[in-house]
Subunit: 206 residues, 2 copies
């Protein structure tokens, strides 16, 4: 079993995070950031361990976590970062940058499939089988179950290795520049979601 550290409200300190890249995921009550509150933030330094931070209703501050998110020297690894960026910006007013998104990297390289879910890419690229059984559970519960903690952690434990494999593919296929431009735009894409353009492809003709 992975090394999971559980916290309420915030990280106790940043001692595990003298790193170049941090993996981040969030759990919410649903997919509408204006309606569905942030319940859990999971992060991993990429050493096989994870911190699972339970967020309280109405909580507006998490100084250690926010200072990590603000640190531009640390790349933030997400799977479908578009959603987590919107959630984190909405909750704490911080836009984590720079970003690497494994879903976008997968779209740009795994052109032989339309399956870009985290479970799919973990299985194909790392041979790791993730269980998604807890995905639709009550993340606002006062006490998170061991299964929930395990699930929450598993969503960040493999992002560093996925980033390495996918960055290799992007380079091999000559698509690193396009991926970087997508990652740079992602924070704006997330802000536009919060501002009300969530259903619209802003680049579409009509």
């Amino acid at each position: 079993m992975a090394d999971i550290r559980f916290h309420k409200h915030d990280l106790p300190d940043l001692s595990h995070y003298n790193v170049g890249a941090v993996a981040i995921d969030t759990e919410t009550l649903g997919l509408n950031p204006h309606r569905d509150r942030l319940c859990v933030v999971q992060i991993s330094p990429g050493d096989g361990s994870a911190d699972v931070i339970q967020i309280a209703p109405g909580q507006k501050k998490a100084p250690n976590l926010v200072s990590l998110l603000r640190n531009r020297g640390i790349t933030k690894l997400f799977h479908y970062g578009r959603f987590d960026l919107a959630v984190l910006y909405n909750a704490f007013g911080v836009m984590p940058e720079p970003v690497f998104c494994t879903k976008i990297a997968s779209r740009l390289t795994r052109t032989y499939t339309d399956r870009h879910g985290l479970k799919d890419i973990c299985f194909e690229l790392l041979g790791v089988g993730l269980s998604k059984a807890q995905q639709s559970s009550d993340w606002a519960a006062e006490t998170l179950s061991p299964e929930q903690l395990e699930y929450a952690a598993s969503d960040v434990l493999y992002l560093h290795r996925l980033r390495d494999v996918l960055a290799g593919r992007l380079a091999r296929d000559g698509r690193t520049k396009e991926a970087d431009a997508c990652f740079r735009f992602l924070p704006t894409r997330a802000k536009l979601d919060l501002m009300g353009w969530d259903e619209e492809d802003i680049f579409a003709h009509s």
Copy 2:
């Protein structure tokens, strides 16, 4: 009638283009840049005049036009630049930057409508009525008709004034930063179209 200068292959010189912003539009044989060749490039310095440049089949060079497109000191004004950027990059290997796109600016400010066509915004914001009668005509014709020339020019003659009005709206509504980020991403969006991701919203979940 507007002051329209007609050329074959290229601009004769850049004497009209000591400007901060140039309006650009293209006419092609259709909407697929890999199939449908570039036939006409229209540009305007924003003084009510326009240059209409007829491009020959297989033409790979247009040194004056390309040096204008390469000049990063000149903002390139487009309506739905996504398409023209792809067409110009495909034809001449140059990606015009920086960009302002009136369709994106309209999407970000005219939230009271879903009509973001050039005709719609010219009429609403400038009181100018454009005719779209020549839009679907044979732009590869050896001799362009006076109606085609007039139409081609009209697509660039109002972009400076539209940019001014729309930039004012973006500022008023606090959306300038988001628009700028969209404009910065637009060249990559156009490259991804050429690379085969034209039907896909690269930022979508699935």
